[in-house]
């Protein structure tokens, strides 16, 4: 297979899958090593973006997935249905950003950083599948620990947790 055909096959695969397909699976199905597949997909992602295609490829934790472009939102919504989108409250976003950086983290630790109770934020984030209960800490009270999901990465356009911007050591002037 030449590169053009590989790309063509990948298109078909991503289309059929709908969901994210891991690099590993793609490599297996194509019988091509992962690093080559990765290179080819990266080229495809660029082409899709340059050509302003109606579908784009996003990467989430070494998996790839098709999705539409945010700028076509209004048309697509007209065809499908208004997605049940209630944005996230400030409290939920704060909680989410703390979990993102500090995971795995307990509720008590989140409360401590925010200075307020985060219970309801945590349960809303769980409902939205942005964080999940990753187990219990082996310490007194065996508190639940929380981590972010792949869905979190997807919804925030992050490839992986390493892509989180480094937190700045802030100083007062920046305020």
């Amino acid at each position: 297979m030449d590169i053009k055909e590989i790309k063509s096959v990948i298109e078909g695969l991503l289309y059929v899958a709908g969901d994210a397909v891991s690099l590993k699976e793609l490599s297996h199905v194509l019988a091509i090593d992962e690093s080559t597949v990765k290179k080819i997909i990266n080229q495809m992602m660029d082409t899709y973006n340059e050509d302003k295609r109606g579908i784009q490829i996003i990467e989430v934790n070494s998996s790839y997935q098709y999705c539409t472009r945010p700028e076509h939102y209004e048309y697509i919504e007209r065809l499908v249905k208004p997605q049940t989108r209630q944005g996230l409250s400030q409290a939920a976003l704060e909680t989410l950003s703390i979990v993102a950086y500090k995971q795995p983290i307990t509720k008590a630790q989140i409360d401590y950083i925010r200075g307020v109770k985060s219970e309801s934020s945590i349960s809303r984030l769980q409902d939205k599948e942005l964080i999940f209960e990753a187990g219990r800490l082996d310490s007194p009270g065996r508190p639940m620990i929380y981590c972010t999901t792949d869905n979190f990465l997807k919804l925030f356009g992050l490839k992986n947790l390493q892509e989180l911007p480094p937190l700045q050591e802030t100083s007062a002037e920046e305020a």
Partner: protein, 243 residues
């Protein structure tokens, strides 16, 4: 000194404190504690005056601020590991504020990203069995299933043939039949308009029965319906299954 606060929704005492510090344009590492504590208390008072509920966390912080303020007036104890340095009573609070501020800033960034990516749509996976070329990988299919399947076909048939004898009108639609018909349609098509579900010259009875079937399917959470305005076409959409 008194500051006019506009009614803002602060996420917690740290959020409020940060706001006050930023407003006063002071160094977060060298907070003029009595000034800030004063403003903080004024704000709480203001909230109470406006009959807003002041959460207990805000009150705890108020007490902490007052405590720090009084400690600032006393001779400061030395650090255990480095006796030449004094312990700043504000230190713990400052650390907390700085930590909180980091996440608060990140929150803004997250919010921006979220606003973009929540406008993105994903398609559900294709029905897989259409792509299978052989059944060598069948699992969970047993001969018992064959018997069960045939039994249910026969049963279904015997009841429907009994019904046929009793009924005279050819065009009689039941809600159940309509539900089945719609369910079948849903397998292949995830979106369609309500009027696609019956003939152009369908009688009123069929339309009503179809509508009842739609309502039932909505109740069973298999579909959602939507209409942009009164008398507009009704769009029926299959609910994504989360399998």
């Amino acid at each position: 000194m008194s500051i006019k606060f506009k009614l803002e929704n602060f996420e917690g005492p740290l959020d409020l404190l940060l706001h006050l510090i930023e407003k006063a344009e002071v160094d977060i590492y060298d907070i003029p504690i009595s000034e800030i504590a004063q403003q903080y208390l004024e704000y709480l008072e203001f909230m109470q005056k406006m009959d807003l509920e002041v959460a207990s966390e805000f009150l705890v912080m108020a007490a902490t601020l007052v405590e720090i303020k009084s400690k600032m007036l006393l001779p400061k104890p030395k650090k255990e590991d480095n006796p030449t340095q004094e312990i700043d009573p504000r230190e713990e609070l400052v650390q907390k504020l700085i930590e909180y501020k980091k996440y608060k800033e990140f929150t803004l960034l997250l919010k921006d990203k979220f606003e973009i990516y929540e406008k993105v749509f994903y398609k559900s996976p294709e029905p897989i069995e259409d792509y299978l070329s052989d059944f060598t990988s069948i699992t969970g299919v047993s001969a018992d299933l064959l018997a069960k399947t045939l039994n249910s076909i026969i049963q279904k048939n015997s009841t429907s043939s009994k019904r046929k004898v009793r009924e005279i009108h050819r065009e009689v639609f039941t809600v159940d039949d309509k539900i089945k018909e719609i369910s079948r349609l849903l397998v292949g098509k995830s979106v369609f308009y309500f009027e696609e579900l019956f003939d152009k010259n369908a009688d009123k009875y069929e339309v009503i029965v179809t509508f009842l079937a739609i309502l039932e399917l909505v109740k069973r959470k298999l579909i959602t319906v939507q209409q942009y305005m009164s008398f507009d076409r009704i769009l029926v959409k299959r609910k994504k299954s989360n399998s």
